[in-house]
Symmetry: C2
Subunit: 355 residues, 2 copies
């Protein structure tokens, strides 16, 4: 059976450079070539994240990087603000609790932008923010939120999940005042899942503490500064991600960001023409990583996804309280020439059937 092509907001269709890397003979992670790949990818990630700081690679999912960042930057008992407006900001809250922190989790409607006024008063050791909330399609006002946190709580560390904004939209850690950012390989980097990174700005590097074992960022940072890794890394995925970043850089990041944003807006235009309401509230900025729509009353997500599958596409539904209630598609992966046009055409035809 032919495998469905992915219109999902991660994982995504692999970039040809990733597939070419995966076809290589196995590289030993203690070889000079592997050390060079580790250095290369760390530098590319830090540069694209807009920081003079450093990236630390981890074998695991984006969640592993989220947990590593929380444990490395905050001691148990630390008070951190987490504005919850979707599945992934909710995850920050869970991770903070599991690490023994005392998160102050403010609740916001899923689909809303978090208002900077929500930054709490009182002592605060940090904030765990979500840039692109993949579960709702909202691009949160990260720069504004970070600025407000730093204004009210100058010593608080600001940590951001940029899993579905990295390599898809500008991320400017130093300019925005982010001390750490986490990302994964299977979104804008168009590589297989299994590789993640924590990017640390100057204050993040300064305030790093050793915590845990496998996810101990301080230990990994020491090893990676010597072009090593503390443990056997997913070197095949490192090679894939580095190759994709090199290919995308050659085409220019701004051009890539514009292409993805325009492709995503095309889905929004088609969905709205079919009468579907976007999940992001009218005042919220849309993430380029996914176009999310409420289903009309009575429409079945299962049937809808089957209609897409019949045309060769896999789409995504909702998570948590939005399960069964929304449709999500994404243009952040790789598409063969003409493939995205076919996706738009099929999207228009399938959603027209919902009216």
């Amino acid at each position: 059976m032919k495998r469905l092509r992915l219109l999902t907001p991660g994982p995504v269709n692999l970039h040809p450079a990733a597939l070419a890397a995966l076809a290589q003979p196995q590289l030993h992670h203690r070889s000079p070539e592997a050390g060079e790949l580790v250095r290369d990818l760390r530098e590319r990630i830090a540069r694209l994240a807009g920081t003079g700081g450093e990236a630390v690679l981890l074998g695991g999912s984006g969640t592993a990087a989220m947990e590593a960042a929380v444990r490395a930057l905050f001691a148990p008992g630390a008070r951190v603000w987490v504005p919850v407006a979707g599945k992934f900001s909710e995850r920050w809250c869970e991770i903070a609790r599991a690490a023994g922190l005392e998160p102050v989790c403010s609740a916001h409607d899923w689909g809303d932008a978090v208002p900077p006024e929500a930054v709490p008063a009182g002592p605060l050791d940090g904030a765990l923010l979500t840039h692109s909330e993949t579960s709702t399609g909202v691009l949160q006002p990260l720069a504004e939120l970070a600025a407000r946190v730093r204004e009210r709580h100058p010593e608080a560390l600001v940590v951001a999940d940029v899993v579905t904004s990295f390599a898809l939209a500008p991320v400017r850690m130093d300019a925005w005042g982010l001390d750490a950012a986490v990302l994964g390989s299977q979104k804008g980097l168009m590589s297989p899942p299994g590789l993640a990174a924590v990017v640390l700005g100057a204050r993040g590097l300064e305030r790093l503490r050793s915590a845990g074992y496998y996810l101990d960022l301080a230990r990994e940072l020491r090893a990676q500064r010597a072009r090593q890794t503390a443990f056997t890394p997913p070197i095949n995925l490192i090679e894939a991600a580095a190759a994709v970043m090199a290919a995308l850089e050659a085409g220019g990041w701004e051009a890539r960001f514009a292409r993805v944003r325009e492709a995503n807006e095309r889905f929004y235009a088609l969905g709205e023409a079919a009468g579907l309401a976007p999940v992001p509230a009218s005042g919220a900025e849309r993430s380029p990583a996914t176009a999310a729509f409420y289903l009309p009353r009575g429409a079945s997500y299962t049937e809808l996804s089957q209609a897409f599958a019949a045309r060769g596409w896999r789409v995504a539904g909702g998570q948590g309280p939005l399960k069964g209630r929304i449709l999500r598609v994404s243009a952040m992966g790789y598409f063969e020439p003409g493939e995205l046009e076919r996706a738009w055409g099929d999207f228009a035809e399938v959603t027209a059937g919902l009216r």
Copy 2:
């Protein structure tokens, strides 16, 4: 530049079935096909580990699985015995300390088999054992050690690192009284690194506790019983490992074990003919995963590894106190027809130069 072929005890040359899986279009981890792969690989692993229990897959290295097992099976303060006779048994000790346990780490000469008499008296909550000690080439007497632990401490949980024995030598969890075993994808499974597993026997399943977040085995087990994973898994590596296991099973595991053992013994015979002394002590059983030799006085490991590289091979040196003092080669990976014969020939010629 042509990539060196690997004679290293992990990672190893990829099995063609792994490469074929990696060439597939990206699969979504929430698809029915992915759920079926998760089920399939979990069952194959548990069966080959010789348990009626269950395997839990994790995205990360074998070390991640070691830490997950320790945190899931022991509370902080637990007293666990760790016989240290190499780099990987030392790691058990470090992980136990990092998790807040109170390990009783007995020291044994690197290269020795751990004697069952070393099992300590006094209260014991568990034992963290190493089956194949990859740093020395010793196959520890796991069945005997586990039996002695259970005899003296019937309630203690026995956890084993089978990273370089799994799919290379018999592992019989239930028969030997192992409650948990950990393994990784880049050794006997001839797949890329980045996937690990904890296999749980009946008592391991019973006594599982929730701990941590990303490495929380209890959470993962619940998800995987429903053919899901708690977080985005390295599904490409799961597909690769499942494909390799299917291919190896078709050829019969006993035949595979015999082939690897004989190929490894061939390296030992050639090395001894060149006057090299094996690292495993005379009373110790040799692991099929690696042939390890002391270098003659005055010989340089760097020069030796360069001589192998000039012939297209990457070999391994020593770790910890054996760094610079030993040479390790391995036949556990995939070799093209005639390739292993060429490796033996080159090994004989290069080591002859050491006399």
